[in-house]
């Protein structure tokens, strides 16, 4: 549709003729008449005068035209808007506060809600996403697991083949692979998928075809790969001839069979998959763990999804699957891999494991962000409420202040409807300006929030749009207009009912008693809400401070880390071993590096290798949590700055390819010693590992050293029981996390280190080079975001409440000037008058606090999990936020109180 002509038509129907056109016509008529008059014998000046008397003035002609053409409503509205703008400009402070508080309310809410919507609420972009569920097993696991939502491959097969509730099931496994294409190489996230993945999701191909069940029938047979649409565009430049070509994944040639449909990046939000590979290629894609051919039933690694048959609810499906799972567990419990290391009690617990169905759109990022995001949405909701209360308060205050103006307008004949319309136009102007500004704010804020929340590389591709979707937009804008209408209408109607004579006589006290009690209530609400926000801000800021100041227990400044994985390049165990040995020497000789530590598992990244241990001294003892294990090199503890409390550190001669045979050494922490060797000297004690493939007998591992308890997975944890082995003790070598203690600022040698690594081995990319301080900073981003936003909101809320209180008291003072004057004239002291006003304010503050404190207590228990190092009812935070709020409020009240005390009795009484 061509828009321009229709706009022109619309405009023409509103204003068909311009004012100059109308005036020109009128002038020509006037002139003709005037000439006639002259011809009839009138003198020139007389003729001119008579023409204008008979026909009218040129200036008013356009108005006549517009009235005749039915444009009066528009003209009047335009006048209202102009008048409204003028009024708003005249009260610049009022307008600024109102618009800004609205903009803030709208902006913060839109941004937070669209983040919540897109990250936590929205479903996968597949057909009927509400039917998709993740099938997981809850309870004690007894075995190895790649994550809480995973199950074993045999269990997936059993569930897939025997269930009656799903129209189909598929599974997936996320992996990182090295991809080579032409001269380029990259490490990319890949999704290993069962053949039913694409058909059941209902995701098609943009180009070529997707993986079909046939591609996924025989292990190692189908070397095919499907590219994600965004990866095809960015990495292959939308090359349509890519289908049929070969790319190397982990050095294995794979044929590209297609490109998945646009917008689909796998089933895990936040970690967009770039390629999809049949899960039968597991051996090739993950060279060191082969869950497919490894038929162990307690090795969980696939995430299983099912599509519910139509009409089957999640509860029904859960009920139907439970006996199926129970049957599978009974089989598993009889297998030697289970019976070897478990007691009858374990078996009984194991058989109580249950099936749980999660939404198919669920993922790690979601469950991690759900609570903090809802918390922030609640916080911003409170801010919006405050902004509304503030706006209402301001509009009420202004309506009262304008009673005189309105009375004058009524007195000179303005209609009441006209006045209501005028006031409404003004509040809509405010709301409109606030909304526009707020949406601009939201757009910026959402971008920033996404940057903070997601790792930089994910944020770049993450398809969360900063533009809120239509529903959110409609909701927010609707809400704002509703607010401004409600709070604009109340004073508008009250204003239009103004008793002219009373208002003109300046006895407004008689008129607006109702509005002041409403305003007092608003102030009470503001004080209560501000207390909630301040208290919350106090809790979150102190949580962040606790986490930052406590730290992991060792110094993290001047500490640099990165990760390498030569095995992905196809290096053999021997080659990898040699790589690490040479790298150790190379890095130790690097200028600016004080010491180097190797560790298989990264620290403070929320992950850990956990395994059950055995020992003759603690057989049969119930164990709450499996200890955390790691392989480290000599010098690891020294590099991290963890002292050896007893015994010794690993030495170079402890490092050797012994593959879990006798005389393996271990360094344990104090917690480990307390739990497993209570009351004994841990040095020289022995234990073994529970492992079905390579069991390590209870005599094999000897404790040679003890370190103090330090945090391992994250800053919030109490250090778990930990045991460390020399890093060459592992059967295979894969990735390694390397820690460097530097002499100078670690950032200074980052580039040099990259260069050095490129020289050292150009084929092995280094991943995640970062200062540990930065890594910790990133891991605390949620806490930091919550703390800083709640602090800003808390401060703002206090300010808004103070403005509200000031407004109410200032108004009271103006109203009671005569009374105060009289009191002073009769001998009241200044402080008596101050007290009179302050008492009023204190009652409001006290009422707000009386509501706020219990509410804060009740709500703080809801955020218990977000708090660290203090109790939800922390008295220090409560008292300090209450005192701070009360102080600010009192200060705001003191200003009008002091003004009241300076009332000149003569002046105030003369005004009568």
């Amino acid at each position: 549709m061509n828009l321009l002509p229709s706009i022109r038509r619309l405009w023409h129907s509103i204003a068909p003729r311009t004012s100059s056109d109308v005036e020109e016509e009128f002038l020509s008529t006037l002139d003709a008449y005037q000439e006639d008059l002259v011809r009839k014998g009138y003198p020139d000046e007389e003729a001119r005068r008579k023409a204008r008397i008979d026909l009218g003035q040129v200036a008013s002609q356009n108005e006549i035209y517009r009235a005749a053409a039915g444009l009066r409503l528009f003209d009047e509205l335009g006048g209202d808007i102009r008048y409204g703008l003028r009024t708003l400009r005249k009260n610049l402070l009022f307008s600024a506060v109102a618009i800004l508080s609205l903009a803030l309310g709208i902006g913060a809410n839109t941004a937070m809600f669209s983040l919540l919507d897109q990250v936590v609420l929205r479903l996968l972009p597949v057909s009927h996403p509400e039917q998709l569920v993740i099938v997981r097993e809850t309870g004690n696991h007894y075995g190895n697991s790649f994550g809480a939502d995973t199950i074993s491959w045999p269990m997936f097969e059993d569930l897939r083949d025997n269930n009656r509730v799903f129209s189909g099931m598929f599974c997936r496994f996320p992996a990182t692979v090295n991809m080579g294409y032409g001269a380029r190489a990259a490490q990319i996230p890949a999704e290993l998928v069962s053949g039913s993945y694409f058909p059941i999701l209902g995701v098609g191909a943009a180009l070529g075809r997707t993986i079909a069940p046939d591609d996924d029938a025989v292990p190692d047979s189908q070397s095919v790969v499907v590219l994600s649409y965004s990866f095809w565009r960015s990495y292959f430049d939308s090359d349509r001839t890519i289908v049929g070509r070969t790319v190397a994944l982990n050095g294995h040639g794979m044929t590209v069979i297609g490109v998945a449909q646009s917008g689909f990046d796998g089933v895990e939000l936040g970690v967009p998959a770039k390629v999809f590979v049949p899960i039968m290629m597991k051996t090739e894609m993950t060279p060191h763990s082969d869950g497919l051919k490894d038929r162990r039933r307690r090795l969980s690694w696939v995430t299983a999804y099912g599509r519910l048959k139509s009409g089957v609810s999640v509860e029904q499906a859960q009920l139907s699957l439970q006996p199926l799972l129970h049957g599978i567990l009974e089989v598993e419990a009889q297998q030697p891999e289970f019976t070897r290391n478990t007691t009858a009690q374990d078996r009984e617990l194991f058989l109580r494991n249950r099936v749980e169905l999660l939404s198919g759109s669920e993922n790690g990022l979601r469950s991690y962000m759900r609570r903090p995001l809802w918390l922030l949405v609640a916080l911003t909701g409170a801010v919006l409420l405050l902004a509304c209360a503030n706006l209402a308060n301001l509009l009420l205050a202004r309506a009262t202040a304008r009673e005189r103006e309105l009375a004058v307008r009524l007195a000179i004949g303005a209609g009441r409807a006209r006045i209501v319309r005028q006031l409404l136009v003004e509040s809509l102007l405010l709301a409109g300006a606030g909304t526009i500004l707020g949406l601009a704010l939201a757009f910026l804020a959402a971008r920033i929030l996404l940057r903070i929340y997601l790792p930089a590389d994910a944020a770049a591709e993450f398809v969360v749009s900063p533009i809120p979707d239509g529903r959110v937009l409609a909701f927010v804008v609707g809400l704002m207009f509703l607010t401004s209408l409600v709070f604009g209408l109340v004073p508008a109607f009250r204003g239009s009912r103004t008793e002219i004579t009373l208002a003109l006589k300046d006895r407004s006290s008689a008129v607006s008693a109702g509005s002041i009690s409403l305003r007092r209530m608003m102030v009470g609400v503001q004080v209560a809400l501000s207390l909630l926000l301040l208290f919350g801000a106090g809790l979150f800021v102190r949580t962040l401070r606790n986490l930052e100041s406590l730290g992991p227990g060792f110094p993290t400044d001047h500490l640099l880390t990165f990760r390498v994985d030569p095995s992905l390049n196809g290096y053999s165990d021997e080659q990898t071993k040699s790589f690490y040995q040479r790298l150790d020497v190379n890095l130790k000789n690097m200028p600016g590096v004080a010491s180097v530590g190797f560790s298989v598992m990264p620290i403070l990244k929320g992950i850990a290798w956990q395994n059950a241990i055995v020992g003759k001294d603690f057989e049969g003892a119930p164990i709450e949590e499996q200890p955390v294990l790691n392989h480290v090199g000599p010098g690891y503890f020294a590099t991290l700055g963890i002292p050896i409390l007893a015994g010794r550190d690993f030495a170079a001669q402890d490092v050797g390819p012994r593959n879990w045979r006798h005389d393996t050494y271990a360094v344990i922490n104090e917690n480990f010693a307390r739990q497993y060797f209570p009351g004994r000297n841990p040095i020289g004690q022995r234990f073994g590992l529970v492992d079905e493939m390579v069991p390590v007998s209870p005599q094999d591992i000897e404790v040679i050293g003890v370190i103090p308890d330090r945090k391992y997975r994250d800053l919030r944890e109490t250090p778990p029981a930990q045991a460390y082995f020399p890093y060459f003790e592992d059967a295979h070598f894969r990735f390694m996390n390397i820690y460097l203690r530097t002499q100078a600022d670690p950032h200074l040698i980052e580039n040099e280190l990259r260069e050095r690594m490129r020289h050292f081995d150009p084929h092995v990319p280094i991943v995640g080079l970062q200062a540990v301080d930065e890594q910790i900073g990133f891991s605390l981003r949620t806490e930091r975001l919550v703390a800083s936003l709640s602090a800003v909101f808390g401060g703002l809320a206090t300010l808004l409440a103070a403005i509200g209180l000031y407004g109410v008291l200032a108004y009271t003072v103006t109203r009671r000037t005569r009374e105060f004057g009289l009191r002073v004239a009769l001998g009241a002291l200044q402080r008596d008058v101050v007290w009179l006003v302050m008492r009023d304010g204190l009652i409001l503050i006290a009422a707000g606090l009386a509501v706020g404190v219990p509410l804060a207590f009740a709500l703080s228990t809801l955020v218990r999990s977000q708090i660290f190092g203090l109790r939800p009812h922390d008295p220090v935070t409560l008292v300090s936020s209450t005192v701070a709020l009360a102080l600010v409020a009192c200060l705001a009240g003191l200003i009008p109180a002091l003004r009241a005390s300076r009332v000149d009795p003569l002046q105030s009484l003369r005004n009568e």
Partner: protein, 113 residues
């Protein structure tokens, strides 16, 4: 001199339609023609004339276009549109009917009642 007549509401528009039905006229021309036909007996109130012209143009009963008057002055000429002609016919019929009825009533002698 004859007595001036005040126009009943709404009739001015009818008169304008009639005036332009005889041929395109500019505003002042319409005024003159009405005066002339009525024998200078009609008094047109200030402002009401152009209000009526604007309203008629807005309704599409007359069409305005710029042109040049007899003394070559730029002026806006109005002519009757088809819709305007229909309207004039309807109004004229209505008016004649009403006038006849009213006149009939007023002319009735007392004994005829």
């Amino acid at each position: 001199m004859t007595k001036p007549v005040e126009l009943p509401q709404g009739t001015l528009e009818m008169l304008i339609l009639k005036a332009v039905s005889l041929g395109p006229l500019h505003g002042y021309g319409i005024l003159l023609r009405i005066q002339q036909i009525s024998g200078e007996r009609l008094e047109i109130l200030q402002g009401s004339f152009y209000t009526a012209v604007y309203r008629l143009e807005r309704r599409g009963w007359i069409k305005g276009a710029w042109g040049h008057s007899e003394n070559s002055r730029r002026a806006r000429f109005y002519s009757l549109s088809t819709a305007g002609a229909r309207q004039l016919k309807a109004e004229t019929a209505k008016w004649t009917d009403m006038a006849a009825v009213v006149a009939g009533i007023l002319n009735t002698k007392t004994d005829e009642v």
